[in-house]
Homo-oligomer: 291 residues x 2
């Protein structure tokens, strides 16, 4: 996922314009670092953790200067927060800039209509809603973004997207690819097709809604002010340590939930609603949390 | 493998000195392209396919100017040719330059004593003698190369070796890693340890020697003038097409051999001696070739 997003940033962002990068968590922070590593003129939007980039702000920013790209995280996993990607797509589509969206934990979980929403680069990875081991990154690239890529001399070799476009046309990859994961991907995509992506989106939203309602019923607080249906971050109850809480869930009930990252370390626990997580898992977890 | 080598080239080659890159086949050609993609001052040694970079030439070159690194392929898979990596290591160790060796098809097949031979960066991949699916690259990095890496602002993010050094100290990786392959690697390394790497080197050399002798006994010619024990490239007999030859081996005898790459396409077939290839496979292939 990281390498895939980096390929988009390195190959498709015009060098002579500014790039707007939203940073509302650990992953937004990463894309700021990547853009800076390639010497881009970064305009960083620092968001309070738990809030999201708003289309209005993007419109305001783009009106003030020459921007070539907007980089945003659709579902910021560190805070369990989703942005209005459709709205951002609409705003950016009216300009010459492109949108690069980190959809690593969103693709396959949150509604995503790449073409209709005019998202120029969608980055995703195998290890989240695609239900595979990690090791594969995917990118969807619009014609508008390809036009940029064709104009830019890639400052890298392995991540040069031009080579991939050429190979994909022959149903191949330019360098030796993790074929075992690609075979697994075929199976995962068949499963997803059979269920139907809209059904998966609805089920994910239902599970996340149930988790939020359950947390509140148990007197706990959802961290994000704009919760993502992909992952829910819940503040640990007063007086309960992360080690106690997650340790008990794991050892006594066999439930694995994630801890907080960076500034949320020890303050929240995070529950995934992606991929093969089903209602039984979710309701079971709620019962275990109630312990 | 490609990304691993690229990380070494991007992070460890000094910017203010020249880099000697040997190109005697498809993979040497690739490292020239990578070094150029990072704007390095490349001195390319073009070798006739089937010949190898000689330590004497490296010594001569290094004496004439300020070189920061030498990049060479230990076993050039496209031509089945190995270089004298030990000799090259010795020559370069006497200077301030570092050696970056593509050992992707050599590590685990040809003798390789990284420390003793003073090879500064060894690049390898999971899919050859490590007997795993593709998807993992490994690098061994010397103190001399780390000193370069610490001094250089990496022109990349995912391939920045500083981040890996930091994570490896905590037995972790900086970004989500292909864990399924890492678990497989543990098993493969246990197998290799059990047999003993020297035994594997000797067996590989024996199989390659047998293949070369068999080819000559059958009136065929080994392509390389300095054959690698990792893979043998054999010229197709006069009047036999690649399609006929490899098709028959595959369809009639279930033997898979590789074809030629780039300028050797349709002119040679290539037999691997790496990993789980054993004497029965090799003798069986000889019998099938005799058909």
């Amino acid at each position: 996922g990281t390498a895939g997003m980096e390929a988009g940033i390195a190959c498709a962002v015009p060098r002579d314009k500014k790039v707007l990068v939203s940073n509302g968590g650990k992953f937004g922070e990463r894309w700021v670092k990547v853009a800076k590593a390639y010497g881009l003129d970064v305009d960083e939007v620092k968001l309070e953790w738990g809030t999201a980039l708003e289309p209005e702000l993007v419109a305001e920013k783009l009106a003030t200067g020459r921007y070539g790209a907007v980089i945003t995280v659709y579902s910021e996993t560190s805070t369990g927060t989703a942005c209005d990607l459709e709205g951002i797509g609409k705003v950016v589509a009216e300009t010459d800039a492109i949108v690069i969206a980190d959809c690593i934990t969103a693709a396959g979980a949150l509604p995503l209509r790449t073409g209709q929403w005019q998202i120029d680069i969608v980055g995703a990875g195998s290890q989240k809603a695609f239900m595979l081991p990690p090791g594969l990154a995917f990118l969807a690239v619009s014609d508008k973004a390809w036009a940029n890529i064709e104009k830019i001399d890639a400052p890298a070799f392995y991540l040069d997207l031009k080579a991939y476009r050429k190979s994909v046309a022959d149903n191949d990859t330019p360098y030796t690819a993790p074929v075992s994961l690609i075979r697994g991907l075929e199976v995962a995509l068949d499963m997803i097709h059979e269920i139907g992506i809209e059904t998966i989106w609805a089920r994910t939203a239902m599970l996340a809604g149930a988790m939020r309602a359950a947390a509140e019923a148990l007197g706990m607080k959802v961290f994000s002010r704009r919760p993502s249906d992909s992952v829910t971050g819940i503040l640990l109850p007063e007086g309960v340590t992360d080690k106690q809480f997650r340790g008990t869930l794991r050892d006594k009930y066999g439930c694995w939930v994630a801890g907080g990252q960076n500034e949320l370390k020890g303050k929240v626990f995070r529950v995934s609603h992606m991929g093969y997580v089903d209602p039984v898992d979710t309701i079971g977890l709620v019962a275990a949390v109630e312990y």
